[in-house]
Amino acid sequence: MTGPGGPDPDDPDLRAAEYVLGTLDAREREAVERAAAGDPAARARIRAWEQRFGPLAEVVPAETPPPRVRAALLRALPRSGRADAGQIALLRAQLRRWRIAAGGAGLLAAGLALFVVVGPSLTPSGGRYLAVVQGGGTVPALIVRVDLGTGLAQVRPVNAEAPADRSLELWYVGAQGPRPLGLVGAGQSEVRLPTGTAPDGVLAVSVEPPGGSPTGQPTGPVVYTGKLLAD
C-alpha cells in the first residue's frame, strides 16, 4: 500500500480516514455516507478512525453555548406544544443564513445538502395541511396540499428548477425517515401519502438522477424543504 507513489488514494480506509478528518469536499463526503449507509464494513472503518482520533476531540476546550440555543431546541421538539410563528421564523432564518453562507451563489449552484428538519407540532385542522416548499428564495418551489383524511396530496410546482439532466424528487420525511412521493413534473399532480404520514413531518425535494433515486432514499442534495402548516 505504501509503494513508491505513496498510499493508494482510492483505498477505502483512507477515504474513511479523510471523512473523519474532515478534508473531503461536500460531494466526496456525501459519497462516503451513501456507501456507509448500506455497508457495515464501511461503517466499521469510519468508527475505527473516530476512535483513533478521539483523544484529539477530547482536548478541544468546552464552551457554554448561549441559552437561546437550548430554548429554541426545546421549542422545536414535537412534545412541547403548538406550532408557533416563532418556530417557522426560526426555520426561515436558518435557511437564510445558510444561503448567505453559500456566498449568495444559490442553493443549487453551491450543491448544498440543505436538510433542515425541525420537528414542528401543529394543532389538527380536520387533517388538511399546506406546505410551502422552498429553498432560500422568496418564490416557493412547490405548494403541496395534504389531506390526511384521504391520504392524498396535490403537488403544484411554482418555481422548481432541476439542474440539467437531473430529476427533482419529492420526499416526505417523518419519524421513519424519507419516503418517496414521486418526481416533480411541470404540471400539477396528485400523489398518495405513505402510511404513517403525520403533520410533524417535513417535505423535501432532492436532486436525483433522471427518473428518480435508484435506491429509494435521497441520493443527491436536498434543495427545497417545507413543513406542513394547518390549512
Binding site: 500500500m1 505504501t2 505513496g6 498510499p7 488514494p9 480506509d13 483512507l14 480516514a17 479523510e18 473523519v20 478528518l21 474532515g22 478534508t23 469536499d25 461536500a26 463526503r29 468508527r47 473516530e50 476512535q51 483513533r52 482520533f53 478521539g54 483523544p55 484529539l56 476531540a57 477530547e58 482536548v59 478541544v60 476546550p61 468546552a62 464552551e63 457554554t64 453555548p65 448561549p66 437561546r68 440555543v69 437550548r70 429554541a72 431546541l73 426545546l74 422545536a76 421538539l77 412534545r79 412541547s80 436558518q94 443564513r97 445558510w98 453562507a101 453559500a102 456566498g103 451563489a105 453551491a110 450543491g111 448544498l112 445538502a113 440543505l114 433542515v116 428538519v117 425541525v118 420537528g119
Partner: protein, 183 residues
C-alpha cells in the same frame, strides 16, 4: 463530564421520545459539543444553528444508538463534528484572511492534567503524531480540530492542493500503522 452510564440512560430515554431527557443530555454535553463545533464553524450564528441541528439529530437517532458500538460520548462527538464539517464544506470556498488560532493541539494532547478519559489511546495517538513529519502532522491536526479544508491547508503551507492530499494520505497511512503497532 457525565459518566457513560448516565449518558446511556439519557439516550435510551430520548429514544423513547422523552423530551426532558434530551434537555438533560443537552445540559451535560452541549458545552463540549459547542466547543468542538465552534473551532470548526467559526461563525457563531451558524455554529449555534449547527448545535441545535446536532441535538435534533440526536433526538431522531438516539433510538439507533447501540451500547456495543462504543461509549456514548464519542458517538455524540462524531455527530457534532460531522454536522460542523458539513456546514463549512457546503459553502463556496471564499478566499479570506487566514485565521490563526495559535492553539497547539498536540501539546494539549500530551498535557497530562487535562480532563476525562473517554478515549483510552491518548498516549498512543500523541506518540504516533509526534513521529510524523511536522508539516504533515500540522495538516492532520488542523483538519481534525479546526475543520481546515485541503484548500485552506494549501494556502497556509503555500503549496498545491495535490501536495496536501499526498501529505494527508502519507500521514494517515503512517498513523494507522503506528497506532496498530503501539496498541
Amino acid at each position: 463530564m457525565a459518566d457513560d452510564a448516565t449518558l446511556r440512560r439519557l439516550l435510551a430515554g430520548i429514544g423513547r421520545g422523552e423530551a426532558d431527557q434530551l434537555a438533560e443530555l443537552y445540559d451535560l454535553t452541549s458545552p463540549k459539543l459547542y466547543g468542538l463545533i465552534l473551532r470548526i464553524q467559526r461563525d457563531r450564528a451558524l455554529a449555534e444553528d449547527v448545535l441545535q441541528d446536532v441535538y435534533m439529530r440526536i433526538w431522531q437517532a438516539a433510538g439507533t444508538y447501540r451500547p456495543d458500538a462504543g461509549p456514548p460520548m464519542p458517538w455524540l462527538i462524531a455527530i457534532a463534528r460531522n454536522r460542523a464539517i458539513d456546514s463549512v464544506r457546503r459553502k463556496v470556498e471564499v478566499q479570506g484572511p487566514e485565521l490563526e488560532s495559535g492553539e497547539d493541539w498536540v501539546a494539549r494532547l500530551i498535557d497530562p492534567h487535562d480532563e476525562a478519559v473517554a478515549f483510552q489511546n491518548r498516549d498512543a495517538l500523541a506518540a504516533c503524531l509526534s513521529r510524523l513529519d511536522p508539516r504533515h502532522r500540522d495538516c492532520v491536526v488542523l483538519a481534525y480540530c479546526e475543520g481546515r479544508s485541503r484548500e485552506e491547508l494549501a494556502r497556509r503551507f503555500d503549496c498545491p492542493v495535490n501536495t496536501i492530499k499526498t501529505w494527508l494520505h502519507r500521514a494517515l497511512a503512517t498513523l494507522k500503522t503506528c497506532l496498530e503497532a503501539v496498541s
